[in-house]
Amino acid sequence: MSAPGRPQALMPEPLGGEGNPLSAPGRPQAPMPEPLAGEGTPVRAAAHPGFARYLAPVRLEEALEAMARPGGATVLAGGTDLMLQLGIGRVRPAATLLNIRHVEGLEAIGDEGGELVVGTLVPVSTLLADPRVALHAPLLVLAARRFASEQIRNAATVGGNVCNASPAGDLATPLLALGAAVTLARLDGGKVRTRRLPVDGFFTGPGRTQRAADELLLALHVPKAPAGAVQRFYKGGTREGLDISSISIALAARRGDGGALHEVRLALGAVAPTPMRSPGAERLLEGVVPSAERCAAAARAAADDARPIDDVRASAWYRRELLRNMTERMLADVCA
């Protein structure tokens, strides 16, 4: 038996090269020198990203001091976003890798009267498990359920997700709808100074927030759901989890006696550079018992307010269509 090699002769030989004269190749351009290293294999950078030192402080002051030092600090909380972003070069390492997971007091959920205070280090999985969140901010539970996978939820922190400021904003969109706020801290003259900012306006662009480089997000303040609270969440995609949103929609409102909706906040994700609210839709829904026509109009207004782009996940046209249809479906469910 002869050693087999290439397939039998029955397979047609690739067509021969004789005959057609070669037509002129494309116009050669001037050579494009690429003196910078780095072009070539688009693989992740080696695992020495250039931190000069590592700190894992227990005291908040020490953490803030590292962030204020020249050269700054890259904050490590859950690490789920940071590892990826370092790998693809979207984050350049600062002088210090600052692990804040040992700083005291950042992983609690506190009940403070009218609001829940969620420490920055609270993992997303805790949002799912904690009965106070289920009771007072069910919208966060709805969103957390659709957040990545359990492995990611167990590590990803709420503070990390908010500071990451993805336009898809899996937690940012519901926080926007809930009218939440953030507390930021920095060292000023050796003392810890904090300031509180509403989430509405906190996101300034894809991956950008109002947080200064030397500020640490300490906690989220989530207003407790009032009596008659209506909270809904929708995330586009084929899967329950592990889906970067093509769009997300978060609704929070209070249904008064008589059924009218008040304090309506409708937040949209992945349809603009940052999570955004739809003033047009909110205006149409505020203070009324929405009819089917009103719901449809509000849905159209939301689609009009949105500013989606075409990207690898979805086209702008589809995002608008989906947004309109799902807002209408959500409102129909609310009014049912």
Binding site: H48, F51, A52, T80, R101, S149, E150, N154, A155, E240
Partner: protein
Amino acid sequence: MSAPDPLPAPPPEVAIAFTLNGVRQRASVGMGASLLELLRDGMGLTGTKYGCGEGECGACTVLVDGRSVASCLMFAVDADGRSVTTIEGLAHDPRGAALREAFVAHGAVQCGFCTPGMVVQAAQLLQRCPQPDAAQASQAIEGNLCRCTGYRKIVDAIVAAGQSLGGPAAGGPR
């Protein structure tokens, strides 16, 4: 003439101490290294797999302080002071044993590459939900990709393992 060394000196490594599969360990790790690299290259435990390096496939799942995480996304320095359990560490765990037996018996293993991640994730599920139904088992492994089995037998195995643990001899497989 000697060429200047174009690379800066590698950054200092960080000493960590942690518990790995029940045994106290010390290690010296690069700041940017992942827990996955530490386990596979540093500690020689190859049961945990590199599948994607992006936390999307679940092949690198380990337990840290009892919770499942994607070890490819966890910084090795962050293992300091914590307790890590890999697939190897489930060798004597009753949940691990029940899952192994069920995975074998139900045909839940084909190429087997996803299997360690599946077993670790399922072990965590059984910890908090001792007798999951198929929907719960399915949900729990939504972050674990498999290309061979179509998942059905994996779900069957997880449900069966839970059942076998939850019998009269609770807490032990046999």
